[in-house]
């Protein structure tokens, strides 16, 4: 543990002794690829042939007219293979696993996008794959569970704790401390012990690098603001990292759930309810009680339903280099419906948080300004949740009919 990976007061590597050697090996492997000039080219070549990179930057003309303020651009991470930005990190770590010579990968997943991406990578590279997923999330993201299993992964529903993303991470660590000789843990977000926050942000930086070039080519100037949803923070770090040295306001949008005052949310940086703590191997803002016990969180989107947040973003919050807001479940569904109708684009419920906030702010900006919203993933996976939220009678009829077929 030479470099403990601190960002101001946050980060670190709060590792049980059994994992120290594994992290030393991982850190070394990551150092090697960072300093290997060929690696990034190989990575970009893989992402352009296997995924859909560079992903487009779409001008949302109808939404721009709707709000009458800033020009709205959408960075289309939903067009990646597997439908979300998660694949950027996963393929990068996959190349790393090949170099380390390990044969098995494990991962946690919330919405299931990271699980599907990891199962996809494992199928392509020939690794065994186990995915840990909270029981609650298994129930609300069945389509992704189906695809993970079809891709050959074992999906383990986690029945401990709050039975969501945080608990899936704990279980993945419990697997890893038993099997680290053969197994790499493909952590899906810019959280956890060093070097994960740095490593995940490194692979996701491809989003921001592309977006910066694309907006300059299109507009000839930088955007006024960029928006990304924040669960663990990987898509936000990805987009933000393209604009860290620019006069661009970085806006992270957390899950407001049923409203901050309801206590049922996952707003760590945008509410006053979180405080610094140590869990899951790193120090950051956590939603916790006075004893340091982690609280239950809530969001309509499984991917943002997480108790901690990237230590890099916690540091940015303290430094004032990014601004954090929240969007409620209801605002998110409204933003999703509007985007569908106006642009023919289906953002994931996670991504729709960024849309909701951008829509609030766009009217007060000048038509000369441009903003970028990161569409971190596509909403097809959310069909069950969205159908319930919009209370669609025809969908209910279809499900009832389908159930009757199975029962026949």
């Amino acid at each position: 543990m030479k470099n403990r990976g601190y960002y101001g007061n946050y980060g670190g590597a709060f590792l049980p002794e059994i994992l120290v050697a594994t992290f030393d090996e991982l850190e070394q492997a990551f150092e090697n690829i960072k300093t290997d000039p060929g690696f990034w080219n190989d990575y970009e070549a893989l992402m352009s042939s296997y995924s859909c990179r560079p992903t487009p930057l779409t001008f949302a003309g109808n939404l721009t007219r709707e709000f009458g303020g800033a020009k709205i651009y959408i960075k289309r991470e939903d067009l990646n293979h597997t439908g979300a930005h998660k694949i950027n990190n996963v393929m990068g770590q996959g190349l790393l696993v090949q170099q380390m010579g390990k044969k098995r990968v494990i991962a946690e997943t919330g919405a299931g996008q990271h699980g599907v991406a990891t199962a996809t990578m494992a199928a392509k590279f020939g690794f065994d794959c186990t995915i840990y997923m909270g029981e609650v999330d298994v129930a609300r993201q069945r389509p992704n569970v189906f695809w993970m299993e079809q891709l050959g992964a074992t999906v383990v529903p986690v029945k401990t704790g709050t039975r969501i993303l945080k608990d899936a991470i704990n279980e993945a660590f419990r697997d890893w401390v038993s099997h680290m000789d053969t197994t790499h843990y493909v952590l899906g977000t810019a959280c956890g012990p060093h070097p994960f926050p740095e490593m995940v942000a490194y692979f996701q930086s491809i989003i921001g690098t592309e977006a910066r070039q694309q907006i300059l080519a299109r507009e000839g100037c930088l955007p006024k603001r960029v928006y990304a949803c924040v669960g663990g923070g990987s898509n936000a770090m990805g987009l933000f990292s393209g604009f860290l040295d620019d006069p661009v306001e970085l806006v992270g949008v957390e899950a407001g759930g049923k409203g901050i005052t309801s206590g049922q949310h996952a707003s760590r940086l945008s509410s006053k309810e979180a405080s610094p703590g140590i869990a899951q191997g790193y120090k950051t803002y956590f939603l916790q009680d006075d004893d340091g016990q982690m609280r239950e969180t809530h969001s309509i989107s499984a991917g943002l339903d997480y108790v901690g947040v990237s230590p890099i973003l916690s540091h940015m919050q303290d430094q004032g280099t990014a601004r954090f807001e929240s969007a409620t479940d209801m605002e998110v569904v409204a933003a999703l419906k509007l985007t569908l109708r106006k642009e023919g684009i289906i953002p994931a419920l996670e991504s729709a948080h960024a849309f909701a906030r951008a829509f609030k702010e766009a009217p007060s900006l000048s038509p000369e300004d441009a903003i970028i919203i990161n569409q971190s993933g596509r909403g097809d996976k959310d069909i069950f949740t969205v159908a319930d939220a919009v209370n669609d009678p025809k969908w209910k009829e279809f499900i009832i009919g389908k159930a009757a077929e199975y029962n026949a």
């Binding site: 543990m1 403990r4 670190g12 590597a13 709060f14 590792l15 049980p16 002794e17 059994i18 994992l19 120290v20 050697a21 594994t22 401990t160 704790g161 945080k166 608990d167 704990n170 660590f173 419990r174 401390v177 038993s178 099997h179 680290m180 405080s275 703590g277 140590i278 869990a279 899951q280 191997g281 956590f286 916790q288 006075d290 004893d291 340091g292 016990q293 982690m294």
Partner: protein
């Protein structure tokens, strides 16, 4: 303090026993009863775990006990009260076991002062490696409490020496990889690893993870100073009730 106690006690015993409970599981009354039986049956030291919502290093048995204790209202405050009650009543050393966030949130200095006040002797915090432990170590030392450090079979000789340089009281040697409460092979590999540990420190060695019956305890004689029984006591109490705790300890000796 712990080191002298263990070395003195070892003069008349081949191996010492350390057991583990989760405070407030199944209830504080039961916890007190279990401690009473264990001490009366001849346990030499005890680990009192302050439950945490996310105990990353614990397997299903202790994990469930942690959750259950929290659901039933175990708080840090009540754990300190419990620790005070048992350390006043029984004359064996008691240690805290918990996770970093419990101490961090309480404040390391304040936590250490409170430990000293209720007569605890040391602490085991598995997710607080020496590299992250400056504040913790300083806080423990100022009350002459022992921060117990952990060796694992994955730890290199170089790192054993490094970790030893921070250790006091005794060193906790994980018998194997993985989390608490699973099978351990008491084999030649374990003996080789324990002799590596022995070379790395002059402090007493405690061995835990998978120690659950007399044969395991006997195997450790001559190789370690303390056998640590963790998950197995919880299992016994779950299966046979609180009254079975004392007999279980007798069966190990």
């Amino acid at each position: 303090m712990l080191e002298a106690y263990i070395k003195e006690r070892r003069k008349s015993r081949d191996i010492l026993l350390m057991t583990h409970i989760v405070m407030g599981y199944p209830s504080f009354e039961d916890s007190f009863d279990i401690v009473t039986q264990m001490v009366e049956a001849g346990v030499d030291l005890m680990e009192l775990q302050i439950p945490f919502s996310d105990p990353m290093a614990d397997g299903p048995v202790i994990l469930t006990a942690n959750q259950n204790a929290l659901e039933r209202g175990s708080t840090v405050q009540r754990c300190f009260e419990f620790a005070q009650a048992v350390s006043t009543r029984f004359y064996i050393p008691f240690l805290f076991m918990s996770y970093a966030n419990i101490l961090y949130k309480y404040g390391f200095d304040r936590f250490s002062d409170k430990m000293d006040q209720v007569n605890l002797k040391g602490a085991i915090v598995p997710d607080l490696p020496p590299e992250e432990g400056d504040d913790y170590i300083r806080a423990m030392k100022r009350n002459t409490l022992d921060p117990i450090y952990i060796f694992s079979p994955e730890t290199s000789d170089e790192r054993l020496a490094y970790v030893s340089s921070f250790a006091s009281g005794f060193v906790y040697c994980m018998a194997r990889k993985g989390v608490t409460g699973r099978e351990t092979a008491f084999s030649e590999d374990l003996a080789t690893y324990l002799s590596r540990c022995r070379h790395a420190t002059a402090l007493p060695l405690a061995v835990g993870f998978g120690v659950k019956e007399k044969a395991d305890v006997d195997y450790l004689k001559g190789k370690a100073d303390i056998a640590v029984i963790g998950s197995q006591t919880i299992r016994i109490v779950e299966e046979n009730g609180v009254a079975a705790a004392g007999d279980f300890i007798h069966s190990l000796l």
